[in-house]
């Protein structure tokens, strides 16, 4: 039996526009996330702990300084674009499990599909709204649960590989609503309790009540 720990998610936000950085930071804070903002893709990689060695194609992994639950990045940036950053993250063994979300002010279908194909979880059109940010919780939740799932547990005998889907067991407080993306369960489902299936579509949802840790 697992209880979802009410600890804060830490998001790394990347945008070359000062104004947009301020916006996304506030949006994420309002959604009870801890936020770190940087203005370039290279600084983002540096923050993660990926440093370029002498070979520009090989990124050495140094010890990750901070645990990041999600990266949200602007697409159009000078130098390393959001797409480039996405690729580098997904190519890295240490960080490919971190969900990446792309933001863009331009609605270019080819761009959107390219990003999603490369592994981006979501593509937000700017201006990003609070309703968009609440969509991020399930993605971040997955990584936290994955980490918990990988810890040795007397109840679960099967080893969970990153590619395998996760059967999630949660006890949800009655006054909170949580939506999860449901993948096909590989383990038996008789331990599943309350879970809601999400078909991601544009729909208005009730205002999300933040999970906050007591100070």
């Amino acid at each position: 039996m697992g209880m979802v720990r009410e600890s804060q998610f830490h998001v790394l936000a990347v945008d070359d526009s000062h104004l947009d950085r301020k916006m996304i930071e506030r949006l994420l804070q309002k959604s009870s996330c801890q936020v770190t903002t940087v203005d370039t893709g290279s600084k983002a990689l540096e923050f993660l702990g990926l440093r370029e060695s002498n070979d520009p194609n090989a990124l050495e992994t140094h010890q990750q300084e901070v645990e990041i639950n999600l990266i949200i990045t602007d697409y159009c940036m000078p130098g390393m674009t959001g797409y480039d950053l996405l690729k580098k993250v997904k190519e890295s063994a240490a960080f490919r499990s971190i969900p990446v979300v792309i933001m863009s002010s331009e609605n270019v279908p080819a761009r959107i599909s390219r990003c999603l194909e490369e592994g981006a979880e979501e593509f937000f059109l700017k201006p990003v709204k609070l309703a968009d940010v609440t969509k991020l919780k399930p993605h971040m939740m997955k990584t936290k649960l994955k980490k918990e799932g990988e810890k040795p547990s007397e109840e679960e005998n099967a080893t969970l590989k990153p590619e395998e889907s996760l059967v999630v067991e949660m006890i949800l407080p009655l006054n909170q609503e949580l939506e999860l993306e449901q993948k096909e369960p590989m383990l038996s489902s008789n331990k599943r309790k309350a879970m809601e299936e999400v078909i991601s579509a544009d729909r208005s949802r009730p205002k999300y009540n933040d999970i906050t840790t007591s100070a």
């Binding site: 526009s17 000062h18 104004l19 947009d20 301020k22 916006m23 506030r26 949006l27 309002k30 159009c76 002010s105 700017k126 201006p127 709204k129 609070l130």
Partner: protein, 144 residues
Amino acid sequence: MQRQVALIKQSLFDQGYLDEQFVELEELQDDANPNFVEEVATLYFKDSARLISNIEQALERGSFDFNRLDNYMHQFKGSSTSIGASKVKTECTMFREYCRVGNAEVFSLFRTCDECRCLRTFKQLKKEHATLRKKLEQYFQASK
């Protein structure tokens, strides 16, 4: 004073200077961040002043570098969208469209027309921008 605040705000919306994105900004303001909207507005006007200056310099040079101009306008449009500056955003979009057309234009005479349109649009943009700035300054002043 409250009535004045409401009036200024209403006129900004009625006249199309601001759109619903501004309301989104206000919803992000709370007791912990009581000046968020004003801070964002300050950032915006600082950014846009720089962009206007860059664009003016680029236009003064005589030869239209549509790519460079489009790049500046892309940034301008982006920040205008983020703050909900509707009229300014529209002018940015038009300017970019003239840049796009002008860039592809082979006939120099037609290209000159596009350049004229850019200049006219830019003039209008500066006017809208200045009005927005003044009205928002009044709004924030009245809100204190």
